[in-house]
Symmetry: C2
Subunit: 271 residues, 2 copies
């Protein structure tokens, strides 16, 4: 499976990213670390990519969660989709800043005071790039025997087009377009294989309530997960459900952001 992923990516730049991450971690030994993925992955339809299939995610859940983990003293590795929201920066509205909105300028000043030394950010675009980095990062976490929390808030594509089936150039106009996509290897299985001891918090987004609960239970069982957070696209900012040890804990937003409550839950439950 890792072989198949390797064949789809340009390995060198990713291995360099992983090596830099290792250096960062060596400077933060004996600290609580969370590896947090955020934003949707991209599936290119052409080798010279003009078109891609995207999974919807603004990166808000990931970026907000990162801030609350930092507040709880965690070292946060924020692995995010390029151009998605990032911790702290997400609060700024550039349009308001150039309109010299006083409230926004005040916010900027406050954000400049935030200590971000425990935050490490690195970005991805394609789903295969995402998978390969996660695999290699997990190998590093294992090597360093990190007591790591893996918080998978990314919206990962389920299907992709293998390189050898992909058009080299922009697909030309025709009567209709037929695409055939293959299933993406499941990252949860790969993480489990590499680093048994990692505590995994996985996410499941659906649009249909009936399907959500079933999918969570299947996934928990299949990958022997500790926690799974389920949400519906329609009300994901207000309601989530956390599944742990056969029980569903429902959570409704009672603070500014539900991510604050999620991280409080894990603070209580994971020692």
């Amino acid at each position: 499976m890792i072989n198949l992923i390797e064949q789809q990516v340009d390995k060198q730049p990713i291995l360099q990213q992983v090596s830099k991450l290792k250096d960062f971690l060596l400077n933060h030994v004996n600290q609580k670390v969370v590896f947090l993925t955020s934003g949707g992955t991209s599936v290119p339809l052409e080798q010279n990519t003009v078109r891609s299939i995207e999974n919807f995610s603004s990166g808000l859940r990931g970026a907000a969660s990162a801030e609350y983990f930092l507040r709880e003293g965690f070292v946060v590795i924020y692995y995010y989709r390029d151009k998605c929201l990032r911790p702290f920066a997400r609060h700024l509205n550039v349009q308001k800043l150039i309109n010299a909105d006083q409230e926004e300028l005040e916010k900027l000043k406050q954000l400049q005071q935030v200590d971000r030394t425990k935050l490490y950010e690195v970005s991805y675009v394609s789903v295969m790039e995402y998978l390969y980095f996660v695999i290699k990062a997990m190998e590093i976490f294992k090597e360093l025997k990190l007591n790591i929390l893996v918080y998978l808030a990314s919206a990962v594509s389920d299907y992709y087009i293998p390189k050898n089936m992909m058009a080299q150039h922009k697909i030309q106009a025709q009567d209709k377009l037929e695409l055939e996509l293959m299933p993406v290897p499941k990252i949860l299985g790969l993480i489990r294989e590499i680093y048994q001891e990692a505590i995994i918090i996985s996410f499941k987004l659906e649009t249909d309530d009936d399907i959500l609960y079933k999918k969570i239970q299947e996934s928990m069982k299949k990958y022997n997960l500790e926690y799974c957070i389920g949400n519906l696209l329609q009300n994901r900012r207000d309601q989530i459900v956390i599944y742990n040890k056969g029980e569903f804990v429902k959570m409704e937003r009672n603070k500014d952001e539900i991510e604050e409550q999620i991280i409080e839950y894990f603070k209580q439950n994971i020692k």
Copy 2:
């Protein structure tokens, strides 16, 4: 054709946008106006959209061109893909701002001084939303007898999934995914039908040089266009070609941004 597009969109919010645009234009009569589209369009794969096919475009060409048109005294209607680059704001790096980078803070101060009263911005997401707004806006331009320049820098999707063929909920995992997409109505033909007198500057992006020239000539002929700007994905920031009256004018970047040269060309050529 317009019927077909109407069936794919929620008309009311778009008609409201168009009505606001008309109010803006009535406050800017007897001025040179450019209608500038920017950024890639989105093709949803599900009605409760988790996945979409996207056309790559950062919006840089459109946003940069808008600034140079404004400098030349044009009123600019900037119709952009939500989250893509926008005129002036594009120059700011939020990460640098929260790092209190002095150069970036200085840039922000300068941008706050820019007069943006002649800039009107309105955004889209899906390709059908894009098409419907462009059609309705062209009807307004015709009604107001505007001497309008239509500068189509958007990367418009060629294929879409009609609503009646679209899954309602998130597509569930299966062995492989097969998608069938239908061709998107050609906006150039629609614009020509609605407002004969509009001067159209269209864009053609390809990844293969051999195809580019052929496609430009075909498109010019088919839609009776005045100008077409061709570019290759690979070097689009440095080289373009402008096709007008059977002649190709090649342009290489010799300023900070090639968009500055493009707008100078049109200043010379369109009276």
